[in-house]
Amino acid sequence: MTKIELTRIPFIKNAFKSRYPQLAVFIVMLIGYIFAILAGLIGTPVGSHNFSIVFVWIAWWAILILVAVPFFGRGWCAICPIPLPGEWLQRGAILTPPDKRPKWLNLRVPKMFRNIWLQNISFLLLALFSSVLLTTPNITGIILAAMLFTAIGLGAIFERRAFCRYLCPVGGFIGLYSQAAPIELRIKDKQVCVTCEGKPCYNGSSIGFGCPWDVFPGGLTKNTYCGLCMECIRTCPHDNIAVNLRPFSADLAKPSTRMDEAFKAFIMLGSAIIYAGVLLGPWGTFKDAAYNVGSSAWFMYAGIFLSIIFGILPGFFTLGLLGTKGNATLKHRFASLSITLIPLGLMFWVAFSLSFVLTNASYILASLSDPLGLGWNLFGTANTAWQPMLTSILAPAQALALVGGLIWSARTAQKAANEVKVSPIPVIVYCFIATSIMLWLLL
């Protein structure tokens, strides 16, 4: 399949060029986000009846992991409300650039932090506390508020969206898996960018802002750090930016050599496996350990969690690579071939989320009518009984997702191995073992 330029369609192009459609969605999302914070802090402590838990961890999560990330990549980032207040303050404007910009510090993020290690750490921190976070409304409310205020604070200190680019725990995994999505933003003609004066897509101009993600579109080759904010489409004076429909996983043909991105793949793969065992498994001891933060059992859980992610998973992966022979260094092979885990990890998350989302989706209707759990019945659905959905097709759907992910990963492994001139077999065997474990945990 060749690329199809979606921005050739006038309706889509106009929708991206105009700031108003995006602003309308932003405002709705921001209102929902602030309401989720308030619901978490002042609503019922019963998670399954609180808007913050039901709409964030069931409704939003389902849309994000089952639709947005696989099909739209960073599509969520394009409408995410978290950076908005900070960005508006930083710019001193909501729509077009003002005559006078506010005097914030506008510092460049120090070079040592210009990678995704902080995102890896922030995701792991949330992951270690996930059992409490997923079930306790006021903790969810506090975390949502903390993310909003951190984004505002970083916007006042650093230039552009430092929070989204370097710290957001959700943005980290969306960026990783956005490489597999069939949507991309790219330039049409490289030569136009080379001769373009002032590079307004990056530096901004009187008609629009420079890339808030600190990306020069002319050098964009993969989705990882493009937040699809569409600002460059508005500022490009040459109409040289396109949004394309492309084959799935097109970015995975270009293996990364960055260790922060390689470990992100292990973190996401490992977290999906651990969650499947702890949250969806029948072992109460694990659930107790994961939930009782600060207890000795929790510290053991945290130790096992981190050992799996930083020791066992990359350790066996490295052992497999030791058996391959090639000119590239082991580190280079490790980083390049870790790209294989991206389709696998994405499908692990899809399979895990299917189970969690379908069995709890009926809470959405009840929470819609009574979002704070205060006995309201706004739309007449407050008394909707809990009923798991589609449980009969759950196992086939999960099996299909996992086996499909394995095939996808095996093909990716072959291409990545070809790039570094080694055999893909050890990596494919690794993926098969990981998939078998996930199948055992979920089926």
Binding site: V46, P282, Y291, T359, A395, L406, I407, A410, F432, L443
Partner: protein, 147 residues
Amino acid sequence: MNPRFSLLLILTAGLAVAFPPLPVPTVAPQARTFQVDAGQFAYSPSKIFVNPGDTVTLELVSTDVVHGIYIDGYDISFEADPGQTQTLTFIADKPGSFRFRCNVTCGAMHPFMIGKLMVGTNDWLYRSVGLAALAVLGVTISRKQEV
């Protein structure tokens, strides 16, 4: 997509679909009773093994707050107050692995209070692992043909 690869994928899927039926052990159905203790947020036993056709009676004993059991796939449920035993009898006529879960909001980790009912062998798991193995083989062979 490479035509050979497509062909192999189809062949792989076909093989998996055409898997011969797994042998079913001929065990005469019997009546089986299990006492299941439910406490925040686990069941004991957490895994229940029966044979297809068995008449299964679950005696649910709640050790702290109100708990219940909903069995996926069978779409049946019941609940028990603390200190009281409730029973549910059903015929395990659907083979496979089914999660059972608490159907009464019982505390923070309630959505994850889960057990497993195993009726005969877990065919889905074995077939899926077999399909995964065949798929890997298919992809590997197709690549070798391409090279």
